[in-house]
């Protein structure tokens, strides 16, 4: 990181190759949109280049630090543009099934899973994405989100509980739509979400 702070582009390129996909995945899970995720990843690495001297190696690994930047950028982006919650999965997920019927079913399932994730309040979503999908440890996630480990566990529990409710209702589309609509109304009314404490 000192080398990046000194303007070493080769070391910067190595860092980009090593971490860019993880940051892209994180931003995609947070925003549900590939283009926005790429923008966030680009901005994250731009900040790595311009603010490398601010990184403190004794406090966080490079991965944790980059996730922290990406987390803040995602939260800012979501607050600026609520339309980022639009789910765009059709062109982005590689075809894994050839049978049309199976493909449709798979797409629908993906859409619902993504919608359930996007229906979570921002911080709950970030907590679950960082721990479940990004595979970061609880200390790292707590540091990224500026939380104590206890508060993180509480946030994760609420997040998983909400997801369980929504995903269980995947079998019952009508009930699922009602839950999504209820969550959406809660958000618009400025509520923190199911069980979320601010």
């Amino acid at each position: 990181m000192t080398a990046i702070a000194d303007g070493n582009q080769r070391v910067y390129a190595d860092a980009v190759r090593q971490h860019s996909r993880a940051i892209g995945f994180y931003a995609f899970r947070m925003l549900g949109n590939k283009d926005s995720a790429e923008d966030i990843a680009q901005e994250t690495f731009l900040r790595l280049w311009t603010h490398a001297d601010k990184w403190q190696s004794d406090k966080a690994s490079m991965s944790t630090w980059l996730h922290r930047i990406a987390h803040n950028l995602c939260i800012d982006s979501m607050r600026k543009d609520r339309s980022s919650q639009t789910v765009e999965l059709e062109d982005e997920i590689p075809d894994q099934r050839h049978d049309i019927e199976q493909q449709q079913e798979w797409d629908e399932r993906q859409q619902r899973l993504q919608s359930a994730l996007m229906a979570l309040p921002e911080r709950q979503r970030s907590a679950i994405v960082l721990t479940h999908y990004q595979g970061l440890g609880n200390q790292a996630v707590a540091s990224i989100m500026d939380l104590s480990v206890d508060a993180l566990e509480s946030l994760l529990s609420r997040s998983r509980r909400a997801l369980r409710t929504m995903l269980a209702e995947l079998q019952d589309p009508e009930r699922y739509k009602q839950t999504l609509s209820h969550l959406s109304n809660d958000k618009q009314a400025g509520h923190a979400g199911p069980g979320e404490q601010t």
Binding site: Y12, V16, S20, R21, L46, W49, H132, E153, L156, S157
Partner: protein, 154 residues
Amino acid sequence: MTISLQRFEQLLDAYGASPQRWPAHERVAALQLLEQSPQAVQLMQHALWLDQQLDQLSAPDFLQLGSQILQQPLPARRKSLIEQLLAWLLPLQQHSAAVFWRPAALACVPLMLGLVLGNQLDFYSDAYADELYSDELEETELDLISLADYSEIL
């Protein structure tokens, strides 16, 4: 170290069914409890269901993202004055003569500054002495006048 069934449930609620995601200091105790308690197994299966659901969610591969990022032009780095001075003072080329003459030149700066200032500021110039002398004369004259006044009254 051992953990209670309640704590085990909290771990599953927060981190899910994969032991890799559990806090490292509680992992061994939680796995031991899992071996011993049928209730723990039941809780584990319950948590596993949600993990399996979440694992089905796919994402783009982002294989080209790294090269896209590297293609964007990087802004020029703005160095502080101290960084610029240090970079000039200690150039990266180890075999350059600048490694020697630049620190020496910097060390000479205070010396040169002292010489210049010493020559410019003449504390005992004639003008200053004249000024001092005229002040003294003035005071003496005033004293004499005042003495004369007293003598007249007396």
